[in-house]
């Protein structure tokens, strides 16, 4: 079975005139767990590109491999075959040390559970990647990032003194602060109420529009996916489709229609419940 034979839906076409340089690319990427009878194919020869200054959402049912794809592309996990490039760097040949350095210098992360260090202030958390690298932050850039996420008067607070939305804004600022080539978000709004989630997604979209950042986000929420420029759909370890300039309704439509072919659970049929996947289980 190939992706070409899968049902396709195109509510939008690739926008013309946008930069087409590629920030990260996976080619024939496979990830296989176990051997023999217990073998599980998490990713099956996936090829996908993430272009610069583009906001991509990766969607798919539970077990579709969306998180695995992100982890492999972000250099957090190893893969079985194929290739992953961040800019000009091929990740497959890198040792742990080089991978760590790559993540530090080229990649930003936003996690579902915020993952701030409780002992550090908001500002210290934001500059942590630069501190690790032993670099000074670009003050002007840092200021504009802080300005954008609206944390100016919260910089001295510790995470425990901040609300969930504020903590995630700190995490967004941390990801942006070191001017990474690409930012990966793993369900960045999964632990937030809808208003805080909208705020965070707004910052991410702004960072792409105004700061020309590249953002890749795994989500199961059609509303969150609607903030992206493009949605990549995964099922059974394969890319089954993609959608440009998505709307929440179009994404939901697709998921509902797609669920006719693949069993993704009854909950996906209810439009009022964007989560068709148990919270906390993203892959």
């Amino acid at each position: 079975m190939t992706t070409a034979s899968s049902p396709r839906l195109r509510p939008g076409v690739p926008p013309a005139g946008r930069a087409t340089a590629v920030a990260a690319r996976a080619t024939d990427l496979s990830k296989i767990y176990g051997q023999g009878e217990t073998q599980v194919v998490a990713l099956d020869r996936v090829s996908v590109e993430f272009r610069q200054a583009e906001f991509t959402a990766i969607m798919g049912p539970s077990g579709s491999g969306k998180s695995t794809l992100m982890h492999c592309v972000a250099g957090l996990d190893t893969f079985s075959s194929g290739s992953v490039r961040i800019g000009d760097t091929e990740l497959g040949s890198l040792k742990d040390k080089q991978l760590t350095k790559l993540r530090r210098d080229k990649i930003g992360f936003i996690f579902q559970a915020f993952n701030l260090l409780p002992t550090l202030t908001a500002l210290e958390n934001i500059t942590l990647p630069m501190d690790i690298a032993g670099r000074r932050a670009d003050q002007q850039w840092l200021d504009s990032v802080i300005q954008m996420v609206g944390l100016r008067d919260r910089l001295g607070h510790r995470p425990s003194q901040l609300s969930g939305g504020q903590q995630q804004r700190v995490a967004v600022a941390r990801a942006l602060a070191s001017k990474p080539d690409i930012i990966f978000g793993d369900e960045p709004t999964g632990n937030l109420d809808s208003r805080s989630g909208a705020e965070v997604l707004g910052f991410l979209r702004n960072s792409v529009r105004e700061l020309e950042q590249t953002v890749v986000m795994v989500t199961h929420d059609p509303v969150a996916a609607a903030y992206a420029d493009r949605v990549v759909f995964l099922a059974d370890g394969r890319v089954v489709d993609e959608m440009y300039r998505p709307t929440a309704d179009a994404v939901l439509d697709f998921l509902l229609r797609f669920s006719g072919g693949v069993d993704i659970g009854g909950s996906a049929a209810r439009p009022q419940t964007p989560e068709f996947d148990a919270k906390g289980r993203t892959s």
Partner: protein, 839 residues
């Protein structure tokens, strides 16, 4: 529930191993101590009981108290009394016993045994029932001796060899004619025994015609008690005392066990420390185990387990761990007990052979200690476990550290510490013996206080280290913050190390200061080049001084002759010196008058002068041993020290009143000062006597130093235990930190901290905690060392506080090493954590 608990025990092997090890070490120490002391006291008791086989009733002189102005004398056990004893109804036979110090030299001229157990005595008649001959015959006359078989074997002497003996000075060279076996406790404990015929022994020990003791053997059918009352009736009651053989054996057994009780208590104190420190580790481990299982325990609660059941499951786990550890500890302890006996053997302290004694008491104590320490230590974490809400099963978060306020704790700690410092300071103003108890109490209060306060202290002390940590960048910064994140846990970990280092430092400060004081005493008060004395502290014959004085090299010499007297109805010991040269041999600072000794002019040390209210120019009457009285005048008052004190008068005045003059030491000044050649010459002049020590100032202070060093090394060895336990504690705490922060560490890895950075972070945290404990311990140790020194100083004028900086540096380094070593495994574990992937 029990099965669940048991599964848990087996599921976390590595961590449990550490808990088991911690409990085991403590238990091993306790049971080892008990096994060792039981074994040797049993062996001594057996041998001492055997030693009294031949005695049914012992007749000894009743010692007379000093009364009024007469020096009390010990009545003599004459031949007539012996004969009378043998004829008492129910008596089978009677043996007269004479004994005294007799040093035997080995073939190289070296003293056999330490000198303290070098005994001599009489061989009764042709066949002494006390000493069955293994070889040869009974000694006869001045030139024959019999020696015990162990000494013979040790030195390689055989019948026919000539041995060199010394009793109080002159060297004797009799021939060995017999080798005997004996149950004598002293011999069993590594001493030597040389026997002469009765007349020779009486003459050598200065007891011509008399005995030290009469051993009466009962006739068949007569009980010891009956014989005792018969003897009491027949002999003059006011002069003698009778004791049954059973009583003697009991007395000796009691004496031995009281001598051993000091050792036992000392060892048990260290065992207690090891266990105390171990308690925290156990508590920490269980806290960690519970934290790790939050979800699992919450699940148990969610599916219907009650709080009590959860607590019980943790306690059952603790019980299993405690039992296993206690049994392992007991086995290890038995090994330690056996090992200690062997070790004592290699130090020339022979312990009588006997089976390894493992009493039911020892087994019960070991089990009780192991289980009773583990259960309460696990109880608190167990209760915390029970409080985990069932809903925690649904969340992915671990149990958060309790952020309870430290206010109550700090107040309590401040109160304890304050009281402790106050009591210790008050104790330093008291004099030596009366200050000991309050000082101990204060020390315990202060340690408990500081212990309670450590969470509070951790912040400022660790903050002080931050400039150094900054060098290590993010790793250093995170390490510092992590180490104060759970102040209680950091405190518990650091305390383990603190207690060990407090003791080590305190002991070292005291020992070094004492050493300094002794050096000073030896060098400042003495002008003599050599001091000659007996190996066991016994008295020298006046012959030694005569021989030394006759040497050309010797420019001045004076004995310190010791004689009791009665002054103002009190016993005072007089020191007879060579008045014309004593000023050349000593350098004693004067408090008043002149240092003049001769005729009726005497000098008195400040303490004695004070107690009698004397000043330079005062006079008093001394009643000598022979009952004569003399008016003496205080010419000067000097500052005494441990080596030289008391009333000094000229031997020309004192000696005529003494029946048997003996000298404590002889001080000698030579033309060439101190040199190997001079020392050799002096030794040779004294017949190369094995029992006589010729020591210069350095030898004197070294001799005392040796004693300290031995004690100090023992303490170091024992405290090594506490340090090992502390290492386990630090490992535990770090493992716990790493576990609790695995998500954080994963995040750090994801955003770009490499493995090296993670490792460094954990190591630095470990280092910070260990050094924190080290600094606290050394600080407290110096304080206690100083305080104890203040007590000593009241008894030792030359005492002076010495801070052994180098040694303290080593201790700090030791703390750092503990930190580095303890971090090895947790750091590796942390570095292996995968970069954070999931939410």
């Amino acid at each position: 529930m029990f099965r669940t608990a048991l599964r848990n025990v087996l599921a976390h092997k590595a961590r449990l191993l550490m808990t088991v090890l911690a409990v085991m070490l403590g238990v091993a120490f306790v049971s080892g101590t008990l096994v060792f002391t039981n074994t040797i006291s049993n062996a001594f008791q057996n041998s001492s009981a055997k030693g009294f086989d031949q005695v049914d009733v012992a007749v000894t002189p009743e010692s007379q108290e000093d009364k009024g102005n007469t020096v009390g004398k010990t009545p003599e056990l004459t031949q007539a009394l012996l004969d009378k004893s043998a004829e008492v109804p129910g008596a089978a036979s009677a043996i007269g016993v004479v004994d005294g110090f007799t040093a035997i030299a080995d073939k190289d001229g070296k003293l056999i045994g330490g000198g303290f157990q070098s005994q001599g005595g009489n061989y009764w008649g042709d066949k002494d029932p006390r000493y069955p001959l293994a070889e040869g015959s009974a000694p006869r006359g001045a030139n024959q001796v019999a020696i015990d078989s162990e000494t013979a074997e040790r030195a390689g002497y055989e019948v026919g060899d000539t041995v060199r003996l010394s009793i109080d000075g002159p060297v004797l060279k009799p021939t060995v004619v017999g080798i005997f076996t004996t149950d004598d406790g002293n011999v069993a404990a590594g001493g030597s025994l040389a026997l002469f015929d009765t007349a020779t022994a009486q003459k050598l020990f200065g007891k011509t015609g008399t005995y030290d003791q009469i051993d009466v053997k009962a006739a068949a059918g007569t009980s010891q008690a009956a014989l005792k009352s018969a003897l009491d009736d027949a002999l003059p009651k006011d002069l003698i005392e009778t004791t049954t053989g059973e009583q003697l054996a009991d007395d000796q057994a009691e004496m031995i066990s009281s001598q051993l009780s000091g050792l036992r208590q000392g060892l048990l104190v260290f065992a207690g420390i090891a266990l105390f420190v171990g308690t925290f580790i156990i508590a920490n481990t269980f806290t960690m185990l519970v934290a790790q299982r939050t979800k699992e325990l919450a699940l148990l609660r969610a599916v219907g387990a009650s709080r009590r059941q959860v607590t019980r499951s943790v306690l059952i786990e603790a019980f299993v761990v405690g039992t296993v550890a206690a049994v392992a500890g007991l086995v290890a302890g038995i090994g330690i007990g056996a090992g200690l006996r062997e070790l004592m053997g290699t130090f020339d302290a022979t312990i009588p052979a006997g089976p390894l004694v493992i009493t039911p008491g020892t087994v019960l104590t070991a089990l009780a200690v192991g289980i009773l320490i583990t259960m309460p230590a696990a109880w608190l974490p167990g209760r915390r476990a029970a409080k985990i809400p069932p809903v925690a099963a649904m969340s992915s978060l671990h149990a958060q550290a309790t952020a309870k306020s430290l206010v109550l704790r700090n107040t309590l700690g401040a109160l304890f510490s304050g009281a402790g410092v106050a009591v210790v300071l008050a104790a330093t103003t008291m004099d030596g013996s009366s200050g000991q108890a309050p000082m101990g109490l204060g020390a315990v209060l202060l340690i408990i206080g500081v212990f309670i306060l450590t969470p509070l202290l951790s912040r400022p002390l660790i903050a002080a280290a931050s400039p150094v940590l900054r060098i290590f960048g993010v790793s250093g910064k995170l390490a510092r913050q992590n180490s104060v994140r759970n102040p209680r846990r950091t405190a518990a970990t650091a305390s383990a190390l603190m207690i060990g280092l407090t003791l080590i430092t305190g002991m070292t400060v005291m020992a070094d200061s004492l050493q300094q004081g002794i050096d000073k005493m030896a060098s400042s008060a003495l002008r003599a080049d050599y001091v000659v004395s007996m190996a066991n502290g016994n008295e020298l014959s006046p012959d030694v001084d005569r021989k030394l004085r006759a040497l050309d090299d010797v420019t001045a010499s004076s004995p310190l002759r010791n004689a009791p007297s009665r002054i103002d109805g009190e016993t005072e010991y007089l020191t007879g010196v060579n008045g014309s040269v004593i000023g050349e041999l000593t350098d004693l600072p004067l408090d008043g008058g002149a240092f003049r000794v001769g005729g009726t002019q005497v000098v008195v040390d400040d303490d004695t002068a004070k107690s009698h209210g004397w000043r330079a120019g005062s006079s008093f009457t001394a009643h000598y041993e022979d009952g004569k009285a003399q008016r003496l005048t205080v010419a000067g008052v000097y500052e005494g020290n441990e080596m030289i004190q008391g009333i000094m008068l000229d031997n020309g005045t004192l000696t005529p009143h003494l029946t048997d003059p003996t000298d404590m030491r002889v001080m000698v000044k030579t033309a060439d000062g101190t040199s190997e050649a001079t020392k050799d010459a002096l030794e040779k002049a004294l017949g190369s006597n094995p029992a006589i020590k010729v020591q210069d100032k350095k030898d004197l202070s070294n001799e005392i130093a040796q004693m300290f060093t031995l004690i100090l090394n023992m303490v170091y060895g024992l405290l090594a235990m506490a340090v090992i336990v502390a290492v386990l504690g630090v490992i535990n705490t770090l493992a716990m930190s790493v576990f609790e922060r695995s998500q954080e560490i994963g995040m750090l890895r994801a955003i770009g901290l490499d493995r090296k950075g993670i490792k460094r972070m954990v190591r630095l945290e470990s280092l910070v905690i260990s050094l924190f404990g080290g600094v606290l311990g050394i600080g407290l140790g110096v304080f206690f060392g100083w305080a104890a020194g203040e007590l000593l100083a009241s008894r030792m004028a030359t005492y002076e506080l010495v801070l052994p900086w180098a040694r303290m540096g080593v201790f700090l380094l030791l703390a750092a090493t503990v930190g580095v070593l303890a971090a090895l495994w947790p750091a590796r574990r942390a570095a292996r954590l995968a970069p954070l992937t999931g939410g």
